[in-house]
Symmetry: C2
Subunit: 650 residues, 2 copies
């Protein structure tokens, strides 16, 4: 039974599981399962094999239930396997190590046999997990559908007092206690397998916010919430601290499922006979599960979340889905694309405001009746900027003569219809031409364009506007008057794996438009390139080179950078801006998702180290492209040399 209904949200975080602590001997699993389900849990995390088992020649695996005891759908939908916790693959004792390897492989084989969707691997016992990772990596090579969730404590363990001296003398030690480090080593050894995920054990103490934030870019599938992480309210019911609540909301928003674990600590629970607090203690009568109050609190938290905003609901299917950027110069957009973008009311409102301010600046109130402003919309598409400009003129009482220049002959047809429909024939002249080669009959006071991509200049607005500048008066205005791109380093394991699936370098040297969701931002954004319009400087070039150094968020610990999220902000005119840079983003605008520049190999940034990245915008006669490279802490290859993998045609 899902935690609740949240409009638009179809993610896994609606489901809540419960951990079965004791081995349900003697085929007790079905009873445990039905008890849990009837108490509102969606699935159980259950041991599959008697923990007293050790491999021996000819021994039959003592499983908790034969595959016939539950139906295939029950196994698959309601049971997550828990691998025996005694296994220790990095033990000094070779016998224990070999027994552990064999048992792990047998248990996973059994879980595959009954078609479980996932198994939880016990947390590594030490920070030296080389052999554990090697065996898991072997297993991963042969798994088709099942996922393995490596269990890890969420807290960033505080070292013991007598370890502190060691740590001072040895940076390495202080990293070891951070379980993210352990995860990172493990997944690097397993070569970023997309079937290796994380289950985080959550207890009463939590690390810093920034340290927690890293996990949102990692494949965390479950949060195993310990009953001792709960507080008790004045009525004796379980509840969570504000920090825990915020964390859980974060998990809900990132498709992480909660699994409740531990013994009940409650003494107000009404039903008798359950105070023993053992969820495997099943009776004939339908007794409520001892952990049900903990579940109810989770459902309460889930249900009290704000409903997803309409825009988020609209964009939910685009989350973390990589799209190649448009080639608007080389290709003509389709009607449907125009249709979508024209619906962005906020964007055109900003344009209308910008044009209005420019008109007022341009034409004094006492010159209104005698002056007609020449405004050219370059890249008019199907006319939304024409409309916004005419609205601005009406609003300000300025007279306007509009040229609508558009290179796509299909859009020009629509444009003509629009003008006829609206009765704008006397106001608007349609020019079917590429702005870069149009021979304008007069010069413009105002040039209006919407050529910006997610990264500002990435759809070649600079080159187009340079081409159009010929027919702007020397004191004319360009709307936008400038735009700036921004980047920040992010953890994005899902995006990395999706790109890696192509098995080539080219896909790692391509920038993608993507609705970023399961990511962790690791440092504040910084500016990359700025372009100003008009630009009459003779030596002006649209090549750019910027070197940026990011200081990672404080208290965060080490992290893995999979690439850089890119955004833009644009000054349309004076104080009217438009953009998607997170700190200043125009609200409720949906025309742009961020851009993502991946790294061929994710870069580990140790705690305290900055990351230095170089971005180049390169120009050749027929194309423009970016190259990028990291130089600190470790140099990466220069990506996309000569635009070999990704470029925008002129």
């Amino acid at each position: 039974m899902p935690l609740g209904q949240r409009p638009g949200d179809k993610s896994d975080s609606r489901y809540c599981g419960v951990e079965v602590l004791d081995f349900p001997a003697g085929e007790g699993l079905p009873a445990v399962l039905s008890h849990s389900i009837s108490s509102g849990f969606d699935f159980i995390l259950a041991p599959l094999v008697d923990p007293n088992y050790r491999p021996a020649p000819g021994a039959v695996l003592p499983v908790s239930a034969s595959d016939l005891v539950l139906g295939p759908a029950q196994w698959s939908n309601h049971v997550v396997g828990k691998i025996s916790e005694w296994i220790d693959l990095d033990a000094e004792d070779e016998r224990l190590r070999l027994d552990s390897e064999l048992t792990l492989k047998q248990e996973i084989a059994w879980a595959s046999h009954v078609s479980l969707q996932a198994c939880v691997l016990p947390a590594p016992r030490t920070s030296f997990c080389g052999n554990y990772a090697r065996v898991v990596n072997q297993i991963l090579q042969g798994l088709t559908n099942m996922h393995l969730w490596l269990r890890l404590p969420l807290e960033k363990s505080e070292p013991m007092d007598d370890d502190l001296d060691k740590i001072k003398n040895n940076n390495h030690m202080s990293e070891i206690v951070d379980s993210w480090e352990l995860w990172n080593s493990f997944r690097l050894l397993c070569d970023h397998s997309s079937q290796l995920c994380v289950a985080l054990d959550i207890s009463s103490t939590l690390p810093s916010i920034n340290s927690l934030g890293r996990w949102f870019g990692e494949p965390v599938k479950a949060a195993i919430l310990q009953t001792n992480a709960y507080l008790t309210n004045s009525k004796g019911y379980p509840c969570l601290s504000k920090r825990h609540q915020r964390l859980l909301t974060g998990f809900f928003n990132h498709s992480v499922q909660v699994i409740i674990s531990g013994r009940s600590n409650l003494n107000v629970f009404p039903a008798s006979g359950v105070l023993s607090g053992d969820e495997s203690c099943i009776e004939d009568s339908p007794v409520r599960h001892a952990l049900a109050p903990y579940l109810e609190y989770i459902a309460y938290l889930y249900q009290k979340m704000d409903p997803l905003p309409e825009q988020e609901r609209f964009e939910i299917n685009y989350r973390d889905f990589l799209q190649s950027p448009l080639q608007p110069l080389m290709d003509n957009l389709e009607a449907q694309t125009y249709e979508t973008f024209e619906k962005d009311v906020v964007k055109y409102t900003q344009y209308r405001r910008a044009v209005a301010k420019a008109l007022v600046d341009r034409v004094a109130d006492d010159a209104v009746s005698t002056t007609r402003t020449v405004l050219m919309v370059v890249g008019a598409g199907r006319g939304p900027l024409v409309r916004a400009s005419l609205q601005a003129a009406e609003e300000t009482g300025r007279k306007l003569k509009v040229y609508a220049v558009e290179k796509n002959p299909n859009a020009v047809i629509t444009l003509h219809s629009l003008i006829k429909l609206e009765g704008w024939e006397s106001l608007v002249t349609v020019i079917s031409s590429d702005m870069r080669c149009w021979d304008a009959p007069e010069k413009a006071d105002i040039l209006v364009s919407e050529l910006l991509g997610s990264f500002g200049d990435n759809e070649l607005s600079p080159e187009c506007l340079d081409g159009a500048q010929r027919f702007l008066k020397p004191d004319g205005i360009s709307i936008p008057s400038s735009y700036t791109s921004f980047i920040q380093p992010i953890t994005a394991s899902k995006l990395h794996n999706d790109i890696k699936a192509h098995k080539d370098i080219a896909h790692f040297e391509t920038a993608y438009v993507v609705k970023l969701h399961r990511i962790a931002t690791l440092a504040p954004t910084q500016q990359v390139f700025t372009f100003n319009h008009p630009n009459f400087s003779p030596s002006a070039s649209n090549q750019r080179y910027t070197k940026l150094q990011f200081e990672m968020l404080p208290d965060m610990g080490s992290c893995l950078v999979h690439g850089f999220a890119g955004y833009f902000d644009s000054v349309l005119y004076k104080d009217v801006h438009l953009g998607i840079e997170p700190n200043t983003a125009t609200p409720n605008m949906f025309s742009w998702f961020p851009i993502f520049f991946p790294l061929r190999k994710p870069i580990y940034v140790p705690q305290g180290s900055p990351i230095e990245v170089h971005f180049w915008r390169c120009c050749a006669p027929t194309k423009v492209w970016y190259e990028w490279a990291v130089t600190t802490p470790t140099p990466s290859p220069v990506h996309n040399s000569n635009g070999r993998s990704y470029w925008v045609g002129l």
Copy 2:
């Protein structure tokens, strides 16, 4: 004119060049070249373009000589281009940066046009070389044959006094002054391009031996020896310090060419008019080159090197050539392979000595006439061990009964002929069978085998001898009685690039047999796996797991590890051993080259950090394989999971 003739050595280090310091204006290049050649130099390192040139619209590149002035072979064989040294691609000044980029591209294009084999790129001016590397990387994408040699000072610069405080507070700074670090960043940014090489400038001070050693694993093509690196002997002639001499010998042995550079410092030079010491000052008469005495000293050093030993000469064509290891169990060896291996006199001498000692231990002198020792050669091939064993028996006066067990039916034919030819019919019984399934008529006193590969157990000696142990008496002797594998981390950029050329992961997960030559060993060898024979323990397994931590050589600085060189040592019997582990290698034996375990991505090991590596020997019913992974300083993926890329069939 080569420096001299060294039997067997065909490497580039026979050639010596001279750097042209001043731009040979007005088509002066042919004169400079012929003057240099007639004085004994093989080639010149010459500027191609007037250093006063700066790019301007419509400007013609002021080259030092049109392509018609020298013939194609002269350009290609006798001129290495020197890129203008004023270029500074990481300058703060954008104009200078863009001019530098354009000039660099124009000069390289010109050099390609006249088919030069190489150009020398000026040393980066700062340790921040991101833009320089990006432009060079772009150029490398388009080069077909030409190599680019990045010029770097060899010395590990001492920081200025006032930098010392900074360094104490900032580890990063202290690394920057090591020019190897600069090289490493540059080549990582250029993604290990095989056409990017190094030219080292050598002055009077040299860094530590271990620091120098790193360069032998890097693609160093030239040592640019400054005249001020020379000393002057009592007669006024130039000579070099012992350390410089050793360094040059090292370069000669690693195919590095010397280029002499600088002004002459000599004042005893007999010919008049050359004391001005300018090699571009050409007169009509054939005046000796001012730097000729420096060249003569280099030729003297070259000629006084020991001739290449015969074995080295035999192996010279195998240097750094990657071979896949044999599959001796699955495949039958060819006659030619037997032929080669049987010639290894040293190896069979060791076997003869081991068998002799075992016979003496086994049969007391007073029992010689009554005891006949049963000796089985398992894997007899065409009979060399049979011969060695019979020689040992004769030498010690022990009576022998030999079974020669061989699975290859082709070898068995030869074996029968040999026995007939030698008249050994009464002594030797030939068994055409795999030792693992032979049903022996009696038990052996001594089991002799030569099943070892370069890494000891890698040709499955353990599995074969376990299979043969059934017919060894409980107190019987196995020769070899044990063997141990060894590894050490190495820099081997050539091997890395050869593997990378296959463009797949599988070749990076394969171990290769290779005559290691252009490599740098970075730490002393350590033991990996040991096997003892016979082994009657019931729980014996041939699976192994070893974790090794290597401390890098002191004073070396940081380094890049491309993989691990592997060796073996074997105890044949008591104090008779056989092996290729460098510190204890049996001299003059040629049956084994080392083995090389590559890393998919080379691992940077910062100064002071250890490198930790894990090796697993894994066994399945039909195959045996290794997996390997680095965990410190940065985790690598586990290589060759499940033997997916490389395995030995049982």
